[in-house]
């Protein structure tokens, strides 16, 4: 039993904290990201508790504002953006392309330390009194008015941005230069394509938010007039720079989840994906077009109507590749051999929730309608359908799918199915009412609200309670599986892909010899169209 693998190859804290093995670094990320996920979840739960009653009895207005700010900052920058790439991408990309490691293992470890350092800044900001600017740090409130720890939190975001940049850089170089012989671009798993597209967004977008946040800090500390109109600056310029990154950042969250879904759907339908190249190229299309839509966040800020029309039409165009993906996944399960294991349940949940999330995005891209919906709970519901319904469902699905590979242990499938069901039900109960209350006009970031909105908020809070049970359950059966789970064979699902060829858990060097790939990595049946060499 005790064959040498990456987990038992080296013991002691130092062997983990100084490791250059991408698989161990992925586990370091897993632990730290899980911490931030539950921290952000705690903030979210406080928000929901507060909104149970219209009068705002639980928290003071100031504390409530800090709660949603910290919730946004922690979830966006410290959970959603790194989640799938830094954990699953880190673990799987080298194995999926037949490499021993990422191109720059030391840089990979440094990225994790940078992430932790950024996280510490954010924790310090939270513990020393919090920030109340909203995760968007809009000026001039953030530079001139907010009386809270803006600089500490902004530095946390700035620092962790470099972790993201370096991870993206590492992935791009790895995918370009480290593929095994015979693994051509169009034989790559779609998970790798998705991460390639994600990395492009990371390296092109993140530096812009870094410089923007730095300018906010400079304005706040040194009173340089960049964004504050009292100093001659332009607050809307901040919004342009901020959304130039933060809209594509949504694609950093959702593209890897799409990659995970492509893998899961193929594995549990025992079938190669329908329209491989359309899915691959739609990832790139989303990444590139996604850089040209940021202006749809500021339709009502008084930008020129022609600029607004341009942003609106491009926002609609970027919806098309997402639609293509959804149709292709649906077509993939046609005439498959479908097994409803827990990862597949998450994938189906993703399909439904992402479809609703994507389609409600179309509402917000319609300029005339966005006037009414902007900054209401409709927006909140929409982006949670994408980020929670999409990205977190993808993350959890991927974690369940690859858990036996990562740990070498099998978890309790009935418990996992229960959790998947709870997450789906709890999620819809939390966020569907927010579409309704949003169209009624309830603005976001409201500590108190008119009493006629209460019934929707009570539903949301109830749903959030179910959702948090659904999120906590995997903690128990995952941890249980580590100690008591049955050992997993190399390929517990009967799935295809290089990662299922190596033992579970994989040895430190992944492959004893570099594999040679002779056909597409997800072929279940012989085919005329894809030649087998």
């Amino acid at each position: 039993m005790d064959t040498l693998n990456y987990i038992n190859n080296g013991h002691g804290l130092a062997s983990w904290l100084l490791t250059k093995d991408h698989k161990r670094i992925a586990l370091l990320y897993l632990v730290s990201i899980t911490f931030f996920f539950f921290l952000g979840g705690l903030f979210a739960f406080m928000i929901r508790l507060e909104l149970l009653t219209p009068a705002g009895d639980v928290l003071t207005a100031e504390n409530y504002n800090k709660m949603f700010t910290m919730h946004g900052v922690v979830m966006v920058f410290f959970f959603l953006i790194p989640s799938i790439p830094a954990v699953l991408g880190n673990f799987l990309i080298p194995i999926m392309i037949g490499a021993k490691d990422l191109a720059f293992p030391r840089l990979n470890l440094i990225s994790w330390y940078i992430y932790v350092l950024g996280g510490i800044f954010t924790l310090v900001a939270a513990l020393s009194g919090g920030v109340d600017t909203g995760w968007t740090f809009y000026t001039p409130y953030s530079t001139a008015a907010a009386n809270s720890h803006v600089i500490t939190a902004a530095l946390g975001v700035f620092i962790t941005g470099f972790s993201s940049i370096l991870t993206g850089l590492n992935f791009i170089v790895t995918i370009h230069r480290m593929r095994a012989p015979g693994l051509t671009w169009f034989r790559l798993p779609l998970f790798v394509w998705a991460h390639y597209a994600t990395s492009l967004v990371m390296i092109l977008g993140t530096p812009v938010i870094a410089i923007t946040v730095l300018l906010v800090a400079a304005e706040r500390v040194l009173h340089m007039g960049i964004f504050d109109p009292a100093l001659g600056g332009d607050p809307v310029l901040f919004q342009h720079l901020f959304w130039f990154y933060s809209h594509p950042a949504v694609y950093i969250m959702i593209l890897p989840a799409m990659g995970v879904i492509s893998e899961i759907v193929q594995a549990f339908a025992r079938k190669n994906v329908f329209g491989y190249s359309f899915i691959a190229f739609s990832s790139l299309a989303i990444a590139i077009i996604g850089f040209l839509v940021w202006g749809h966040h500021i339709f009502v800020a008084g930008q020129s109507v022609y600029a607004g029309m341009l942003f609106s039409i491009i926002s609609y165009i970027v919806a098309v590749p997402s639609a293509i993906k959804v149709f292709n996944w649906t077509a993939t399960i046609y005439r498959g051999s479908i097994s409803l294991d827990s990862p597949m349940l998450y994938a189906f949940g993703f399909l439904g929730l992402f479809t609703i999330g994507g389609l409600t995005g179309l509402f917000l891209a319609a300029m005339g309608l966005d006037i009414h919906m902007h900054d209401t709970y409709f927006v909140v519901a929409h982006f949670h359908y994408i980020m929670v319904g999409g990205a977190i469902m993808g993350y959890l699905g991927g974690l369940h799918y690859w858990w036996p590979k990562i740990t070498g242990k099998l978890y309790s499938e009935p418990a996992a199915k229960l959790a998947a069901g709870l997450v789906f039900i709890g999620f819809n109960l939390t966020f569907f009412p927010q579409f309704l209350v949003g169209y009624l006009g309830m603005p976001r970031r409201y500590h108190m609200y008119p009493p006629e909105f209460q019934v929707f908020n009570v539903m949301s809070t109830l749903g959030a309670t179910i959702l948090s049970v659904g999120y906590l359950l995997p903690m128990f059966y995952f941890v249980h599986s580590i100690f008591r789970g049955k050992p997993s064979p190399a390929d517990p699902w009967g799935a295809k892909g290089l990662e299922w060829e190596v033992p579970s858990p994989p040895p430190t060097e992944n492959f004893a010899v570099t594999p040679i790939v002779t056909h597409g990595t997800h072929q279940y049946a012989p085919s005329k169209e894809v030649g087998v060499v």
Binding site: T174, I226, P492, E501
Partner: protein, 250 residues
Amino acid sequence: MSDGYPQAPSVGLPGRVSIQAPGNPHDEQSSAHPHHPKLQHHFDDMGQQAEASTLGMWVFLVTEIMFFGGLFLAYLVYRTQNPMAFQEASAHLSWKLGAFNTAVLIFSSLTMALAVRSAQTSESRGTQVFWLVTTMILGATFLGVKVIEYSEKFAHNNVPGPNFVWDGQYPAGAEIFYSLYFCMTGLHALHMVIGLGIMTVIAIMAWRRQFNTEYFTPVEITGLYWHFVDIVWIFLFPLLYLIGRHYGGH
């Protein structure tokens, strides 16, 4: 999953890929040739390692372009909004010092290229270190001139903030100009300082005879970085020092 699938299905393709036995033709480079001491374990050969490092630096420079890009955009917006103020404020910068520094940096790019070449052609460690140190001296000269320029601005209270003083016609616009001036040139100077730090390490490595035709990637990617920093200045110099000098210039 307790009733999971212990084995891959028996139907379908037997293997997804063929993992070939050791000694296959693709693995020969690692067995036939001795490992270069600088070859990291996860690369197949020195060529792959060098290509990865170079591509990594290019990708990093792309992120740097986006980083400075945000500042260039802010410059563009505020110049359009305050054209007169920017001309007036720009006229208070010494174009002579700026032009001198431009020349220094362009020359340092030449010496950097020669340093790369000397490593690439396995020239003596003395030659390699000479070009590296010359580049560092030029870089330090640039920073020295920058210190002179900055201290002049500090002496006249032309540094944005509560104590900003401007005796021209457009104090508000001039303050924005100098905010951008200090952000842009400060960030550029920071990149120069980092470059000097890297070059110190590279020079020590060169002195220890670590670079030759087979292994000179560190020098090469340092060169890429240094050229990039120079190019940023090539854009900063006209934008900050030259445009609009015909108006009210000194």
